[in-house]
């Protein structure tokens, strides 16, 4: 089943790594607090609550208030990790993210739990597929999408050290580890991690799509098509240099993301290409409100699979 040797069959819920890391960070730094919206369980904060009962501020089902409270905590010297399901954090509190976090330049980590179509059968109300577009539009807000547990933990280290306003997806849908064993750090802010140096096609992916792009790379290799995989874990600011290099050195790019095509990773790549090195490209994403189905079913429905990525690549280079 698994065509790429570097992609293991073992898969992980990134919230587990998130939870362990948050506790470790909080042990080391008394400024770290968690703020949530009745999402202790779904944000995997039970252990944090047991360890630091006073440092978990659960405001109830009230996302605007949640983000405002985080801004007040930041004003008071704390580093809040705001933990809530992605659709409600990004959609319900957009204006607070803009005014209270980004425009106010507070070091707050907005942790979008269960992003993309992780809530599968619960349907489009619970799918966070517009978040990358909405959050990318806000100035002075860094947008991160770690692709596996190692990246999630390393991104959290960076978030605390940087003191930046940050929006970060924390995946629920299980993914294999995609971090190559030889990397010193799993996540480098603003840098795309490249696997392989194939000159036929570049597979540009983020989050859940990275492991699928790596599998597509193996499928294409069997057909004699040499692909490189670009893991974009910092959506904003985008690593334009690596994108332009890929455009120059290959015949085209396939961009795949678990989100809408209007304004997300694909749009960011398209802008970069158009201004610097126009190239052939194919964009894969969530193109409509989803029908009922599991996350895996829906990813397949929208062609967000290794096969879907490989097929798009073949058309580009064929």
């Amino acid at each position: 089943m698994n065509a790429h040797s570097s992609v293991s069959n073992e898969t992980f819920d990134c919230r587990v790594a998130f939870s362990e890391k948050l506790i470790a960070l909080a042990e080391a730094d008394p400024r770290i607090v968690a703020v949530c919206n009745d999402s202790v369980g779904s944000s995997n904060l039970n252990a944090f609550r047991d360890r630091f009962p006073d440092r978990l501020i659960n405001v109830g089902i009230a996302e605007q208030n949640m983000v405002g409270v985080a801004a007040g905590l930041a004003n008071g010297g704390f580093i809040p990790f705001v933990c809530a399901a992605g659709p409600f954090l990004s959609g319900r509190a957009t204006e607070q993210v803009k005014a209270d976090v980004a425009y106010s330049n507070y070091g707050i980590v907005l942790c979008a739990m269960s992003p993309g179509m992780a809530y599968g059968e619960l349907g489009p109300t619970h799918h966070s597929i517009e978040d990358l577009s909405w959050m990318r539009a806000i100035d002075n807000l860094d947008v991160l999408v770690p692709a596996d547990p190692e990246q999630t933990k390393a991104a959290m280290d960076w978030a605390v050290a940087s003191g930046r306003p940050i929006y970060m997806r924390v995946g629920r849908h299980k993914v294999p580890s995609v971090t190559p064993a030889d990397r010193d750090v799993a996540f480098t802010f603003g840098k795309i991690d490249v696997t392989g140096d194939g000159n036929d096609v570049a597979l540009v992916a983020t989050g859940t799509l990275v492991s699928r792009a790596l599998e597509a790379q193996a499928i294409l290799a069997a057909d004699g098509i040499a692909a490189r995989v670009l893991n974009v874990s910092t959506i904003k600011p985008l690593d334009a240099e690596t994108i332009i290099k890929a455009a120059k050195e290959t015949k085209g790019l396939v961009i795949a993301e678990e989100g809408v095509l209007e304004g997300g990773l694909g749009a960011a790549v398209a802008t970069t290409l158009a201004e610097n090195h126009p190239a052939r490209a194919k964009f894969l994403g969530v193109t409509s409100f989803a029908p009922t189905g599991s996350t895996d079913f829906l990813l397949e429905h929208f062609g967000l699979t290794a096969k879907g990525i490989a097929d798009a690549a073949r058309k580009l280079v064929g």
Partner: protein
Amino acid sequence: MTISVWPDNKPLDVAAIRDLPEGERAEQLKLVAKQVRRLIVQMIDIARAGHIGGDLSVTDALVTAAFGVLNISPETADDPGRDRLILSKGHCAAALYSVLALRGFFPIADLETYMKPLSKLNGHPNRLKVKGVEANTGPLGHGLPIAVGSAVASKLSGKNWQTFVFTGDGELQEGSNWEAAMTAAHRKLDNLVVIVDRNRLQQGARTEDTASLDPLGDKWASFGWEVADIDGNDTAALLKAFTQNRDGKPLVVIANTLKGKGVSFIEDRVEWHHKVPSKEQVELALKELA
């Protein structure tokens, strides 16, 4: 055109007001409030823009908190334990800027740049541009959640500062306020004071003709708050309310005010939400505030 302040050339020692006995404090605060109103009128005249009605209604409460009660000064602006004053009704920035300038956060002459290109004195306040500003407000319903976070931080850090947040009354139509009101009561934030500038007018009409707020005190009480319902243009009543026993609860001061207070032809008229007075009207206003 230059801003004139303290026309008698005898500036008050505003830093000393907090230490005066209560009666004397209230009298001095009235003088400061009058100066703030003069500054507001002049700023809006120079900028030819602003929100004069709400600026003038909230002035007494702002002045009483900033000069009479809270530990707010340029010297302590970066002190982690400083008191926090948050203007949720951010469109009344002219009132806040006047207070901060009089308190020495920046030169009074800078008020002349209000809303001018590249001025630090934006139409709504920005904490990164002006020391003493605690929150980047403007969209309504943001200040109270931020204030709740500040009050939680105060207790969590053990530094025990006070947080005062000023909202409009029309602003309470934003649901985020009531989300925050629940959190504050649930967490027994007795270090938090909300001042509602109850001038009964919003941009388009009277509040009670738009989306009724009354019985406003009962609403807050039912949310678990201590309520003080007072004359919000009376510095003595404000001082008393700001220092009253809170019974382990957050306190809301419903400051019943006149929109446009201090300038007869502006008072209690809906059209003066953000109308700019003519040159003749400015002269008249300053005469009334002499």
